[in-house]
């Protein structure tokens, strides 16, 4: 009884997650070694490793891997650095701090498709967009963001969405700093830089780990922002792994090749996850 009950309680969640993982995985493995094009149902048969070969030798593949990592790395870097900066700026009370908090967190609740279209049209349009107007105001030539800096544009959109999250986590963490210690350091004439180096930054360590972990989970598979703005282009300039597999599956209708790609993506994600879990797991384990 003592052993049975906990298992019974755990079972539904574990079983459903196991199904959620195993069933698609087995199907994906099966699809990846057969010829399976949704548009050509008459072409069937065992394909061996052809699909993998096709996906791996596709020049888009390496581009997509690099783009995935660039997107992940840049967004994490931007949000962590800016998040720390902003949270330090609003750590002490000032007039309107409550309102600032509300306004700052808002972008986090904006759905990715809205975020993407808002930036694509109203902000980044090279003629009518706000950024173009600002550029013109300063006498510069407006930038055609989505054509000239497609990946950069996606990075901006995603960072805008995730910066509030990082900021709020850091802010929450700063609230629990030992105030007496800070006071003492100030009394003893510690400069702001010294306070940063020896008090604030070490205190934020854990929350940086949390932010990196959660962002990584969500950023490995950024999709909607690319789908609604650049469509992965121009060329493959803003195609990440998620979008490349989507292109193979639902635009080229080649489920076989897409499945091969999906398996490769899972392997990549697991390599990333292994690093991360080692790093964060230690940090979260009390």
């Amino acid at each position: 009884m003592k052993k049975l009950l906990p298992r019974l309680l755990l079972a539904p969640a574990v079983m459903s997650l196991l199904m959620w993982m195993i069933v698609p995985l087995v199907m994906t493995i099966y699809f990846s070694v057969i010829r399976y094009n949704l548009m050509q149902p008459e072409v069937t048969g065992f394909a061996g490793l052809e699909n993998f070969e096709y996906f791996l030798t596709d020049p888009s593949f390496s581009v997509a891997v690099v783009n995935t990592l660039l997107l992940l790395g840049s967004v994490i870097l931007i949000t962590v650095l800016m998040g720390i900066g902003i949270s330090l700026l609003i750590d002490d009370p000032f007039p309107g701090r409550g309102a600032v908090r509300l306004l700052l967190i808002s972008p986090f609740f904006v759905m990715p498709t809205v975020n993407a279209l808002l930036w694509k049209h109203m902000m980044m349009n090279p003629i009518y967009g706000v950024l173009a107007q600002v550029w013109l105001f300063f006498g510069a030539t407006p930038v055609d963001w989505l054509t000239d800096f497609p990946l950069g544009s996606v990075i901006i959109m995603v960072s805008w969405q995730w910066l509030p999250f990082a900021t709020l986590i850091f802010m929450t963490s700063l609230q629990s700093m030992n105030r007496e210690q800070l006071e003492a350091a100030r009394m003893d004439g510690a400069t702001y830089l010294q306070q940063l180096r020896y008090l604030y930054i070490p205190h934020l360590g854990r929350s940086v780990a949390v932010v990196v972990m959660i962002e990584m989970i969500f950023l490995l598979s950024v999709f909607a922002e690319i789908f609604t703005t650049t469509g992965g282009g121009p060329g493959d300039a803003s195609t990440n792994m998620a979008f490349l597999i989507f292109k193979q599956a639902l635009l080229n209708f080649d489920a076989g090749v897409a499945s091969a790609g999906a398996l490769l993506a899972v392997v990549l994600a697991n390599i990333a996850a292994a690093f991360l879990i080692r790093m964060v797991g230690k940090n979260l384990d009390k």
């Binding site: 539904p12 969640a13 959620w20 279209l117 808002l118 107007q133 709020l168 986590i169 897409a258």
Partner: protein, 276 residues
């Protein structure tokens, strides 16, 4: 003006800097709100208009043209149902792991989290095929199942880290006094963990409401959520900005306002108890 002296220059500087950064970051959203109340011509005027007579026409037209209410209903049903279903699965699991810690508890937790790291797109083809063959393609039920499963690992984690903070002795005392499992949960655990439950539920609601990958790929005219409605506005190049803004505003306003009210809960929960 006598109280002016209470504001030292450093504070004034800090206040100005904080507000400048905030307004800059909020600007895109503010602009979206403004544009939603413009006419199409005003929306693309050069230089951009800040002062104008607001109109509500866009909102009416969005409803007429693309049946906003249908998509809103789908969003509400799928996010609420998947949150409830997710809690029903995650609470017992987290309870079991937090209070009956076994040899493999840690491994199970890590494994759960790792399923979340696999890109959803890896499962796209099989899930699409399964949904098609079981008739769940473009249905609310299909989306509810998918949302629940994809949020489950995070929900279990959040609840687990919340339950772990509750002293075992309290539960044991209740058990000694002859409380059944349900009483133990309902009278002891629930009151103590209501904050954690709330933040987990809230986050799940927000994630499901904003979910775009599965809803874009598995739903369209019948079960489409607001995220898919907005994506359908991406094709006609520019020139419908006012309507796009109105539709967007209607899609995000409920969840943003909801988020404002629950932000403290939400952040506390999201930190997995690692940040106090």
């Amino acid at each position: 003006m006598a109280h002016r002296s209470k504001y030292p220059p450093a504070l004034i500087l800090r206040t100005l800097a904080a507000w400048a950064v905030t307004l800059l970051l909020f600007f895109p959203l503010g602009w979206l709100i403004l544009t939603a109340f413009k006419t199409e011509l005003q929306a693309i005027s050069v230089p951009p208009l800040v002062l104008f007579t607001p109109t509500l026409d866009n909102f009416l037209e969005v409803q007429e043209r693309s049946d906003y209410l249908l998509y809103a209903k789908n969003s509400i049903v799928t996010s609420v149902m998947s949150t409830l279903l997710g809690l029903a699965l995650a609470v017992p699991a987290a309870y079991s792991m937090a209070f009956f810690k076994g040899k493999h508890t840690k491994d199970i937790l890590m494994w759960m989290l790792s399923t979340k790291m696999m890109p959803a797109v890896g499962a796209l083809v099989p899930i699409y095929v399964l949904a098609q063959q079981s008739g769940l393609l473009d249905t609310q039920l299909g989306l509810v199942i998918i949302f629940t499963l994809s949020n489950l690992p995070i929900m279990v984690w959040m609840l687990y880290s919340n339950f772990k903070e509750i002293p075992h002795e309290i539960l044991e005392a209740a058990r000694m006094d002859g409380a059944t499992l349900w009483q133990e949960y309902y009278r002891v655990l629930l009151p103590l963990s209501i904050g954690g439950l709330a933040s987990t539920g809230l986050l799940c609601l927000v994630l499901s409401w904003n979910e775009a990958f599965w809803s874009l790929n598995l739903s369209s005219a019948k079960a489409g959520t607001l995220a898919t409605l907005i994506a359908s506005y991406s094709s006609p190049e520019g020139l419908f900005w006012a309507k796009l803004s109105a539709a967007s505003l209607m899609a995000i306003a409920p969840i943003v306002v909801f988020g404002w009210f629950s932000q403290k809960q939400l952040v506390q929960g999201l930190t997995f108890g690692a940040v106090k």
